[in-house]
Amino acid sequence: MTRLIRFAPLLALVVAAASPVLLPVYQVEVITYVMIATIACLGLVLMTGIAGMVSFGQAAFVGLGAYVSGYLSTRLGCSAWIGLVGAVMTAGVVAGLIGAVTVRMSGHYLALTTLCFGISFYFLVGNSEMLGRFNGLTGIAPVSVGGFDLRSERQGYYLALVTIVLVMAWCRQLLASRTGRVLRSLRSGPAIAETFGANAYLYRLMAFVLAAVISSIAGWLYAHVQRFLSPTPFGLTASIDYLFMTVIGGSSQLWGALLGASLVTIIKHELQDLLKFVFGPTTRLELLVFAAIMIVVLQKARKGLWPLLEQRIAPKAAPTLDIEPMILPHRRPKPEHGLTVVTASHLERRFGGLVAVDDISFHVKSGEILGILGPNGAGKTTLFNLISGALSPSQGELSFLGAPLLRASARDMCRRGLSRTFQHAALVQDMTLLENVAIGATHLGRCGLFANSLRLDRTEERQLLGWSRHLLDRVGLADKAFELAGNLSLGHQRLLEIARALAADPVLLLLDEPAAGLRMNEKVALAELLAELRCEGLAIVLVEHDMDFVFRLADRLMVMNFGRRIAYGRPDDVRADSGVQEAYLGAAA
């Protein structure tokens, strides 16, 4: 059975290749249209499902590709292949310009902006003399291969089939790579990417441009298969159609695009005929059914239909790649034991009138654990964000390995050797443990989009994944390497976060309440791991509520209250400190 499932895509391909011979022309045309829509939806999967940006304007990029190639063909007599290059390049450049502004926005703002562009494209094209206004362009040349024109419906079908296979294969390859892992982390916010040295903005822009380029390929295909263009199929309704197809199919998976596009197109076609027969030729009631399906999917199966189908046919198809644990060949030289890693002097951070961190000084050496204690709202998390570069201090100085830190971003800090975990475990739920850890090693890789897409990255991938595997071994999660992070218990999630932080090969590790939510035996295991890391020369800063845990583990302690440092020193001294007794521990101690 599993063997059968592994060959399912191949089988589907064979069926797809044979069907035009067997089916009537009308159905061949419908399937061709399904494939074109699928390609556009693949772009949306990258942008919406993977990178978390909703687009209500994707049809505009399909239209852009179509019109560029159509214009080159009808007005300048260029071949379809030059048209393809033109379409892809124009879409890339336009998306780059638009994206440079829009991907900085979040949520609704981005969705609305894409909508504005989508509507504007429709009106611009419709009012442009050069592009034939609302009448459109006619007489577009077919694609020609080796002097042979692909004119008939069946030939168009095969062209679409080859294109979809290529685009799909490329997307799969990309998503499994280093670049893909960062893209897939974006949906849970930019924090993960930034913490591990990747520029979240550039990756969001990359997703936006890739989505546009893929959509423009769909448009190119449309132009040369249909050989006639008008603005209508690229308007807002089409954009909404593409988005709905993607969401119905399952926006976070490539196969979801195919499923969504097929279902929606076929249901719409069949229903339209039926409803026209019942209610007369002007009815658009099929849209009502379409909307209803969309709403029911959102209510009952928010991840789309593909995950449901996948569960049905292959409940546990976890990949069991052979990945040998290995230590990275080029590790960062560890500073010698006892060298000062971070020094903070008189740090202050204000938010409006509130002083969250007030005149804090401390230092941490390699091979040492500094514990930070304090009640909620004492400024611990703010202090953490100051050290890790997520916030910059209002006053005071920080230095890292002897070099002063001036407005260093989280990204820079990662490259310099700082790594952290989050108070609320920030993992990519639908990625495997191994891939989650590999995100930590992002800044240690060199291969970019190009190498990743063309599979020139095999050596590097083997190293990064092997290193991740090694770290999973260390935290004791190796047996779950191919499970999804979302299925882990809270305790295991914390361990996974630590493995990911270690994957960046840090000098300093910041842990934000690593013991919160752990059971007793898990706490003991965590303490052992941290003690071991300390032996290896790592500097560790630990924010924790659990006093027992901190007092046992830390070499030195800092107690904070109301943003101020009220005690600082060896655990015994801190406990004996009368100020701490009075202000913090109370009489009970």
Binding site: L354, G374, A516, R519, E528, A531, F551, R552, A588, A589
Partner: protein
């Protein structure tokens, strides 16, 4: 002693995970009933299900108010109130608005007097009176907990459930919090107290349940529980003194 709350064979499930497993428990009038246990033992799920915020299996009864078990609104009308672990204040609103909304469900009852209820809460927490116009999300941790409790007290509850009232507070404020709970008890409020801070909780309660992995591990009078060697070992074991042994243990392993 009459039981105010009685649950039997009570379970809470999240998907496949069984957060509360077959728990039976009683809380009596005029008493403080403590539920203690480590993080993740299912304490919060238990109390949220009792309040009616999440679904449960098994039986739940409030013998004094038979109608209260029906819905969360019915519980509120029966003066059953919860202070959740996450406080759940209305952040952008003023302290005063937060308190007024605490009595929202009673607004159309005969003889309802918002002003006198507010005065009552302000008397207990003069700090809140000083800050009545301040936004709730600008309060300090301790003040937020006071506001959360104050909002619950706007109902003049006869049965009050407190979920980790000392969580994340500085020890001095924790002590203050427990003084207030003691005072409420003296005023005749029956309390179900969920706490990780077992020592402080057992000190002011009459009966206690120890929850572990979703199930009742031990139950009995608070003083018996506090004297139980297993509990002393796991929860009360001198939190400070034992730390040194642990530290030596760890460094010995190095």
């Amino acid at each position: 002693m009459t039981a105010l709350l009685r649950i039997e064979r009570f379970s809470v499930r999240y998907g496949r995970l069984l957060a509360v497993n077959d728990v039976s428990l009683e809380a009596h009038a005029g008493e403080v009933t403590a539920v203690i246990g480590p993080n993740g033992a299912g304490k919060t799920s238990l109390v949220n299900a009792i309040m009616g915020l999440i679904p449960f299996e098994g039986s739940l009864a409030f013998p004094a108010w038979p109608a209260a078990a029906r819905s969360i609104e019915a519980r509120i009308r029966a003066r059953i109130s919860l202070v959740p672990e996450t406080r759940d204040l209305f952040g952008p609103m003023s302290v005063l608005d937060n308190l007024r909304l605490g009595a929202f469900a009673l607004r159309s009852e005969v003889g309802f007097d918002m002003a006198s209820r507010l005065t009552g809460v302000f008397k207990l927490f003069p700090r809140l009176a000083e800050r009545r116009e301040q936004r709730a999300d600008t309060l300090s941790g301790g003040e937020r907990q006071m506001l959360a409790l104050g909002r619950a007290l706007m109902l003049r509850p006869s049965f009050l459930m407190l979920d980790e009232p000392s969580l994340g507070l500085a020890p001095l404020i924790v002590a203050e919090m427990f003084r207030i709970i003691q005072r409420l008890k003296n005023d005749g409020v029956s309390i179900l107290l969920i706490e990780q801070n077992a020592r402080a909780a057992l000190r002011i309660s009459d009966r206690a349940y120890v929850l572990e992995n979703g199930a009742v591990h031990l139950a009995g009078g608070a003083s018996e529980i506090a004297a139980d060697p297993r509990i002393i070992d796991a929860y009360l074991g001198g939190s400070m003194t034992a730390a040194d042994d642990g530290r030596q243990r760890l460094s010995g392993r190095r």
